[in-house]
Symmetry: C2
Subunit: 328 residues, 2 copies
Amino acid sequence: MKIVVDAMGGDYAPQNVIAGVVDAVKEYGVSVTLVGISDTIKAELKKFQYPQSLIEIVHAPEVVAMDDPATVVIRQKRNSSISVGMGLLKKEGYGAFVSAGNTGACVAASTFILGMIPQVDRPGIGCIFPSLKNFTLMIDVGANTAAKPEHLLQYAKMAKVYAQTVLGRTTPTIGLLNIGEEECKGTDFEKEAHKLLEEKEPSFIGNVEANEVFTGKTDCIVCDGYVGNITLKVAEGMMESAGKLLKREIKKNPISILGALLLKSSLSAAKKSVDYSEYGGAPLLGVDGLVLISHGRSSPKAIKNAVRCAKEEIEHNVLKKIKEEMAK
Amino acid sequence: MKIVVDAMGGDYAPQNVIAGVVDAVKEYGVSVTLVGISDTIKAELKKFQYPQSLIEIVHAPEVVAMDDPATVVIRQKRNSSISVGMGLLKKEGYGAFVSAGNTGACVAASTFILGMIPQVDRPGIGCIFPSLKNFTLMIDVGANTAAKPEHLLQYAKMAKVYAQTVLGRTTPTIGLLNIGEEECKGTDFEKEAHKLLEEKEPSFIGNVEANEVFTGKTDCIVCDGYVGNITLKVAEGMMESAGKLLKREIKKNPISILGALLLKSSLSAAKKSVDYSEYGGAPLLGVDGLVLISHGRSSPKAIKNAVRCAKEEIEHNVLKKIKEEMAK
């Protein structure tokens, strides 16, 4: 089963994408199909040594810019790497699609080209946050910014299956993101969603506050895409700024510089466990195909890990299992 | 001008509140009125040495619990420390009210007892986030979870005055929290708010993403109270969990323990600049009185700093200036 990778997607494409793909085929022995401007991909691939049989190229002449409107993949750029790559998933032998490109365009293309799973109305992006326990799978972090309560119930069911199959949790718990634990909290949207989840989803254990994302109180958290996206950006922004701030303080003091050197291995270990690039890709759940969206600023390591996630999703047959759950 | 402090508010009341107040009167020479169960306050005060003339006690027999519904201050517990304390602000000689108690109850009591400033429809809680530049004043972080675009315009005007007078920014800039910088981003609410802010508020410079809270791209950020509250909780939760994770890693390795010791002063300096207790209180803007809401888990230092903030707000005449701005 081949993994399709958007060679043109992301702030550092095609360089980081191709470097990551080369590492992935070497490390995991997977077959990858790179989609994008063929000559550009070939020129970049020449820099590396790798098992040639594991990487194929499919030409797509158009490139979706990071700031293009989402609908560009359906209207103007139907021959973009995103549209062409997504189309391959409908053919025999292609198992998953990975892109670090324009998130909105990936969501639009997958909805339009792959279609939705029966009983799912809207796709949701799942993000795997590191937590003190293990991880928290939050869905949605930005695909659907006008979610209805029933969408959150669908997200809950899909997240449960994903946590069981890919992330190895036998009996995952699900929480509803809210501004307080009591069921009377939040806007009408959260109150209705709480009621629906309580009625229909046995894994649901109630409201969770945003700080619980990092304590790992529940395995999965469902929320509207707008709030989920804010959560993701706050977490990223905070981590980055705190790191810069600490470096600034350390530089002021020679003893601290020595301390930082001695701390290096622990800092790296802690950083590794909170580093999004260790996870690599955020699964887009609800569409009829395996799609992973990587961060626009993905490093080669993040791309490599996204390919690993794609491989695991294929091996665990997660799409089939989500369909079975939704058909219940 | 006396500063009224809710002696019964917070997870560690009255101990932390009274310890913080004692430090504040000693350090800043301010006069404080402690409101709450008189005997409890007296017993606690006995533990300290302080200039007796600077602390007076006003008895309030009822206590609002942290999980009481907000309206309890208006309906059942009209003799609570929050209600009685807020009432004092209407008398001559009392300049500000500080509470680490039930946030919803403080918002309800201040709206009901103090009333709104003319031209302001809803109160908003301003939170001062540390950033790489200096600070970011975000409003609202939880008073009004169903904000309308015009409320955000009112928040923008009030935040501007607060940043100018209390925080010393001559020409503060204002951003609208959104999931993208382009003005087409967000839900209908953000699009309408963007249009209104652009038309009516010259300090408005456009949308900002949630990670910009910590880079300090704008001096002030306006948002709906629901999203603002999530932002605050994510930031708090992330900082706490990252700290725990780092400690866990450090303990595994003796060299790291030595490194951490050498790093101590820089870590404290960095921590100090991101520590909410250095700021102490979040101003509740829009009500006709100076109200500061402190974190439920406030340390004595956080309370001391909240009293300092109250003192500064009084000295800078911020209430009068906000009223003047709103009357323009």
